[in-house]
């Protein structure tokens, strides 16, 4: 049983390695992963379910749309009831080596957030939609015509202007395995 499992892993690794020898032209990619952020102005670390869809418009330009669904915070005392983020933008692809792309993006977007009502507050917290701007960098390694590894680092700037106001500035990280459509060059 163990031998079969090891043989399967070796076979999969070999097939991936053989595929990675081919030069791939990515056309579109997508992933769903968990993402961790740290607010820069407060001791708060929200984490999200992060979905991404990227379209490679040509060799050097990509368009990416992303959704971050708030799942919670790692601290006991939470800053948000919820804080969902939606971002979209364009980026420039820098092929580093074969099948390896670095893509910096400028993104704009919206946050739908509600902060926690404090015990001292006379009125309840309000939910609202506020603008966001984000700079992110994607590192993608296309190992297979339908699989790629990715690492994303982002800085997000925004201000929740509903009561009680809260800065949304945060640094975030996402990583994992995604799917893609790619053709051989």
């Amino acid at each position: 049983m163990e031998k079969k499992a090891i043989a399967s892993i070796v076979f999969f690794s070999l097939s991936v390695t053989m595929q990675s020898q081919k030069v791939l032209q990515p056309l579109a990619s997508s992933y769903l992963t968990l993402s961790q952020s740290i607010l820069t102005n407060y001791a708060a670390s929200p984490f999200y379910l992060h979905g991404n869809l990227t379209v490679f418009m040509n060799d050097n330009t990509s368009a990416a749309g992303e959704i971050y669904y708030y799942l919670g915070e790692t601290q006991d005392i939470k800053k948000f009831d919820f804080s969902h983020l939606l971002l979209w933008g364009l980026g420039k692809n820098f092929p580093l080596t074969r099948n390896f792309y670095l893509t910096p993006y400028l993104q704009t977007g919206l946050s739908y957030s509600k902060t926690k009502t404090m015990a001292t507050d006379s009125i309840p917290a309000q939910a609202g939609i506020t603008p966001l701007v984000s700079v992110k960098s994607d590192l993608q390694y296309f190992i297979h015509p339908i699989f790629h590894f990715f690492l994303q680092v982002r800085f997000l700037y925004g201000q929740h202007v509903y009561h009680p106001p809260l800065s949304l500035h945060q640094i975030g990280l996402s990583a994992g395995l995604g799917i893609n459509f790619a053709r051989e060059k």
Partner: protein, 206 residues
């Protein structure tokens, strides 16, 4: 099999866009982009906006920018929400050249419809809104990253032709009032965006 079909279809689609946009500086070029705006130098305070725009180029020196912005500003005790829907004419005072020339400066002026809602943050039931009209003018530049992709930054002043809503404080109680004498007040808008040239809507006659 399905994946192969999908790859083939996507490749054909991208190739057809490639063919349509080989000459990225042609008259009639349609571009699509995203933008972020900082609103400042206003009684309302400093705020951030998000939005998008498309451009249609009329001639080698004249382009047009059609935009939508959603801006929020918080300056206690008031929260401001602005929507700007409008257009600007872009004039290239230097001869227009695409990439590999890296920078193209321009002047811009135009008109927009604006919606403003003011809310007293601690009394959210106290809110007042108005629709209005505004003009804006300024200068900016395209920075070409590729022949089709550019970063555009623009700084423009927007003057509203509509009386402003003002928060008045009467012994600690806030109210929102419309002040006629505040017409012609405005704000400075600093915008940064990315634009992608899609395809020409029409071809220049030879």
């Amino acid at each position: 099999m399905k994946i192969k079909y999908l790859c083939l279809t996507s490749t054909l689609l991208l190739k057809s866009i490639d063919l349509l946009t080989q000459n990225t500086s042609t008259t009639g070029m349609l571009s699509l982009g995203i933008r972020s705006t900082i609103s400042t130098f206003s009684h309302d305070g400093v705020g951030l906006g998000t939005g998008g725009q498309f451009r249609i180029r009329f001639s080698p020196r004249v382009n047009s920018d059609w935009f939508l912005d959603y801006i929020t500003i918080e300056k206690k005790p008031v929260r401001n929400t602005y929507y700007h829907i409008g257009w600007s004419v872009i004039y290239y005072f230097l001869r227009y050249q695409d990439a590999p020339r890296s920078i193209q400066p321009f002047l811009a002026a135009g008109h927009c419809f604006d919606y403003n809602q003011k809310t007293i943050i601690l009394q959210p039931h106290l809110k007042k809104d108005r629709w209005g009209s505004a003009v804006q003018a300024g200068a900016g530049m395209h920075v070409f990253i590729t022949p089709r992709l550019d970063i555009t930054s623009i700084c423009q002043y927007m003057i509203h032709f509509t009386p402003e809503i003002v928060a008045a404080n009467y012994n600690g109680t806030y109210t929102l009032e419309i002040h006629e004498h505040n017409a012609l007040e405005g704000h400075l808008l600093i915008t940064a965006g990315l634009n992608y040239k899609l395809f020409p809507l029409w071809k220049k006659k030879q």
